[in-house]
Amino acid sequence: MAVKVLIPTPLQKLTGNLPEVEVEGRNIQELVENLEKKFPGMKERLTDEKGKLRRFVNIYVNEEDIRFLQMEKTSLKDGDEVSIIPAIAGG
């Protein structure tokens, strides 16, 4: 079950400058664990000590914010696209 993950600039150091990687995972939680296995350091950047997503980390599955879905439990299927994005100012 491979999912495409878009990596934001601040995390590209961990992926050897790759802006896009493929990772397995049935849901976001698993995906984060597997990202950590492939690219050590990922997990502590995305989640706090309690394993909850940090408040400035936004994750999207096929363009949908997971806070509108089932948060970390949001399920993934083959071919899904996950985007990790820091909070952005605007106006």
Binding site: P10, S83, P86, I88, A89, G90, G91
Partner: protein
């Protein structure tokens, strides 16, 4: 001459050099510009500021440029108006309007942030600037990029008001209308920003860009003769302006220009998009993103990046938050026009409508000083008010026709 020490993560406190960085690599917290206030204190005085040209660069020691600014020479120093007619309408004693509806050159407070962002982008050597915008930022970036000879790409939600689109295209910018909400435009831009070497003013230039909003706060203090108001009502979209007004007051205090800030800060949002106000009212730890549905499109950010900081400014200052319905927004736009002769956009309607509610609820006492932040111009959001306006009189070009019509209506 720069007084910038560096960038610092607002979440975990890690320090970074003042480069093209915008979030902490460790925790994704946003980065904030840190200054050497001890040195600024030695060189900057109120008298010195007062003698400088009336633009936002009069506070340049407190802005993050290394070189001379290249734009914004007529931006800032907008009127602070003692609004007597509006005071009477509201039944309040001392009401001021900080009026950025007449900001040069694009009629919103975004001229301030963009003056800093574009100057900084040029310093960093970029030749292309870009932004995701709910409209006002689009106007400001395209105008100032044109003036500075930079190429610009502007990403907007496709359903934006026509006036805001026209007043972006006219400067020669490439406008990209994205079929989605502003939050979707923002997400897309973050993805684009990590592929192209462009200065996205609200993404990779954000720490510098956001500092420009402080000048709105500096000016209020200066124009009140270096006093701070007891209350200030601020429109909130991403939550940057409200946080930076507070930072501005704190900085003036650090420099000894004003007394310890006791101003209560209030967040104003539209009912159809009020994630920050909801968090304040529910005293909640987390901000739930929303899908915006409001005529106040410039404030329609459902996932506010600086939302947590906006909430903490409100709490720290002992202020509050309130929201306005679409009808209340339009009503307030009319009230401001009919009492003070100022045509503000929907965001200004939100701010005034919220002020009125806070006064009615006695959250703001009516005998204390209040500043209402008017941040944009009504010519850009005419669609919102058209259904509410008086009907025209259609007549023939004869005196008779006019007199007849006048009689009919009186």
């Amino acid at each position: 001459m720069s007084y910038v020490l560096g960038l610092r993560c607002r979440e975990c406190g890690r320090n970074y050099p003042p480069e093209v960085l915008f979030v902490c690599e460790y925790c994704f917290g946003s980065l904030e510009v840190i200054y050497d206030y001890a040195r600024i204190r030695k060189v900057l005085t109120k008298e010195k500021i007062t003698k400088r040209p009336k633009n936002l660069w009069r506070y340049r020691e407190l802005l993050p440029l290394n070189k001379e600014p290249i734009t914004g020479f007529f931006s800032g120093f907008t009127p602070l108006i003692r609004a007597r007619n509006l005071s009477a309408y509201l039944g309040a004693k001392e009401v001021y309007l900080k009026d950025d509806s007449v900001s040069h050159p694009t009629l919103s407070f975004k001229d301030r942030v963009v003056a800093v962002a574009i100057s900084k982008a040029k310093e960093f050597g970029f030749n292309t600037v870009a932004c995701a915008s709910t409209g006002n930022l689009a106007n400001a970036v395209s105008a100032q990029a044109a003036f500075c000879g930079l190429r610009s790409f502007i990403f907007i939600p496709a359903d934006l008001e026509l006036a805001k689109i026209v007043s972006t295209l006219i400067y020669g910018a490439q406008v990209v209308a994205v079929e989605g909400s502003y939050d979707e435009v923002n997400r897309l831009c973050a993805e684009i920003a990590s592929r192209y070497h462009w200065a996205f003013v609200n993404i990779n230039i954000r720490p510098y860009y956001a500092e420009g909003s402080k000048t709105f706060g500096f000016e209020i203090a200066e124009q009140l003769n270096w006093r701070l108001p007891q209350h200030i009502v601020v429109p909130v979209a991403g939550g940057s302006l409200i946080s930076k007004i507070w930072k501005a007051f704190q900085e003036l205090y650090k420099l000894g220009f004003v007394e310890k800030p006791r101003t209560k800060v209030y967040a104003a949002q539209a009912q159809g998009c009020s994630p920050v106000v909801t968090t304040i009212k529910e005293n909640s730890e987390i901000i739930k993103p929303v899908r915006p549905k409001t005529i106040a499109k410039s404030l329609a950010i459902g996932n506010p990046a600086d939302g947590y900081y906006a909430v903490s400014v409100v709490k720290e200052s002992k202020g509050w938050g309130e929201e306005a319905s679409d009808e209340e927004i339009v009503e307030a736009m009319r009230v401001l026009a009919e009492t003070e002769g100022i045509f503000t956009e929907t965001a200004g309607g939100v701010t005034l409508a919220v002020t009125k509610k806070l006064l009615a609820q006695k959250i703001i006492p009516k005998e204390e000083s209040i500043v209402i932040c008017i941040t944009g111009n009504g010519l850009k959001t005419q669609d919102a008010v058209i259904p509410q306006l008086k009907k025209l009189w259609h007549i023939k070009p004869t005196l008779e026709s006019f007199m007849e019509t006048l009689k009919e209506h009186t």
